[in-house]
Amino acid sequence: MKPEMTRYKLDTKALTFEKFDDELIVINLARGTYSSLTGGAPAIFDLLAEARSATDIARLFGFDPDKSLERVSEIAAFLHLLVDNGFVGCVADGPSSPPPPNPFAWSEPAIEVFHDLSDLMKLDPIHEVDAEAGWPTKPQ
């Protein structure tokens, strides 16, 4: 099976997540990581509540997987990042999940991972952060 056809699903056992405007924060308590998902990443994260492949997701963003190979690869690469961070797991082949009622508008998915949550928690969120970016970004 092509990698783009591998299906993934959220594995939320160790995850806590919350939307903050357009940003999705995901804490992996088992690994002690804090991740910020922006752009199209929160939408992809939501879609993975059902088992989906990169090809499925590309279709849901309105792309033809046969013509938009670059986009499918980009989504597949992002799904690998989610796997690496323990957010999703591969699932056995099965029936395709139904599409959501509304198509999604595409924007490039981005993820920023902070690997030491305990270090972040020591930062004073008002006084020891970059004033432009806010916690958890340290001042330059």
Partner: protein, 374 residues
């Protein structure tokens, strides 16, 4: 229509001394908290005015932990209130930091629930997390990860023993020394590594000894709920308001905070909440004055739609001397003399509480009170 923070409650019947109802405001949130509450909860024009006033008098740099909790509620409205706020990113960062800390703490605190549930000890969840289950709000982020739980008096000793065996302990004092004061305090705070933090209560109301019969009725009114897939109980809506009012309208050191008002406002604006029994239950729990004060604050300062009949019923029942003294002890002192008076009164009330608790029968054995266990 809202009143400025300093304006006293003015509606009194001819039989009610103005000073008495007016004195309820002593436990209301301070002016800074009130402005933040209005910014978060009032209609848009008043919300914007209050937010501008808060900004003109305060800075994010000097905000306290109590302010942080309210700023988090305000931040959810920021794009309506003040889309050009210069410190938006820092405020959003603060909210994310508080939320993250709360998740870590709550996850660690849930371990205590697991211990009690495994031992088949019924657990009643109190305060903030119970409000989230009673009147869920998608726009409300709970930023406090500690858990307030209530166990039956007969289970307290077993519960504390189980928790102590799993390294739950008192942070600043030995657990044994704290047990000496357990008769006069509604509960005890326990912490554990990785941020676990619980308050385990045996009495729902400060400085009031409740009979086993009253407590049994509170348990009977409780309803099942799930917290992180754990089956627990939450108080009835009326019990929850009474318990939270008695905890919320109390000074912490010399300050009364306002975070309780957000939960109360949501309860009164949620369509499914039933509060007809509130006056009777408040009377039964000895929380009439605290509930009355909370509702007057909501009605007058925030404009929350509180039923006038409810207020009238609470006023009729709020003549007990004990309730007034408990309310007075929880208000900030104006000066040193005032502080001494409160201290004396509190000591008297604690002595009475100890006596009542001994009259009610065994609670902790001498062995426990002398620090040998749990």
């Amino acid at each position: 229509m809202t009143l400025p923070a300093s304006e006293p409650v003015s509606e009194t019947s001819p039989l009610e001394p103005r000073s008495w109802l007016g004195s309820l405001t002593a436990a209301w949130p301070d002016q800074g908290d009130e402005l933040l509450l209005r910014a978060a909860l009032c209609e848009p024009t008043e919300a914007r005015r209050s937010w501008d006033e808060w900004k003109s008098r305060n800075s994010l740099d000097d905000a306290t932990w109590e302010d942080h909790k309210l700023l988090a509620v305000v931040s959810a409205q920021l794009h309506h209130l003040d889309s050009g706020f210069h410190d938006t990113r820092r405020l959003q960062g603060l909210v994310k930091a508080l939320w993250t800390a709360a998740q870590i703490k709550q996850q660690a605190s849930l371990g205590a629930l697991d211990i009690l549930i495994a031992a088949q000890i019924p657990v009643l969840l109190l305060k903030g997390p119970a409000f989230d289950l009673a009147a869920p709000r998608p726009d409300r982020r709970r930023l406090s990860g500690d858990l307030d739980i209530f166990v039956r008096r007969c289970d307290l000793r077993h519960a504390l023993g189980l928790l102590a065996a799993q390294e739950w302990r008192q942070q600043n004092y030995s657990l044994a020394s704290q047990l000496r004061y357990l008769r006069t305090r509604p509960g005890i705070n326990l912490t554990r590594d990785h941020g676990g933090d619980i308050d385990i209560h045996h009495q729902p109301i400060h400085l009031r000894w409740m009979s086993d019969r009253t407590l049994a009725r509170l348990w009977q009114r409780a309803r099942p709920a799930f917290l992180g897939e754990r089956k627990i109980l939450i108080p009835s809506d009326a019990d929850l308001l009474c318990i939270s009012a008695s905890h919320g309208l109390r000074r912490r050191r010399q300050v009364c905070s306002g975070a309780w008002a957000v939960d109360f406002h949501h309860m009164f604006t949620a369509s499914h909440v039933r509060l007809q029994s509130l006056p009777e239950i408040a009377h039964e729990l000895g929380a009439t004055l605290h509930v009355l004060s909370a509702l007057l604050f909501l009605q007058r300062a925030i404009g929350t739609p509180v039923d006038a009949d409810l207020i009238a019923a609470l006023k009729r029942q709020s003549r007990g001397v004990g309730a007034r003294l408990r309310y007075y002890v929880g208000t900030p002192a104006k000066n040193e003399r005032d502080r001494r008076n409160r201290r004396r009164l509190q000591k008297f009330m604690e002595a009475r509480l100890t006596l009542l608790s001994y009259c009610s029968g065994p609670f902790f054995s001498i062995r426990h009170l002398h620090g040998k266990a749990p």
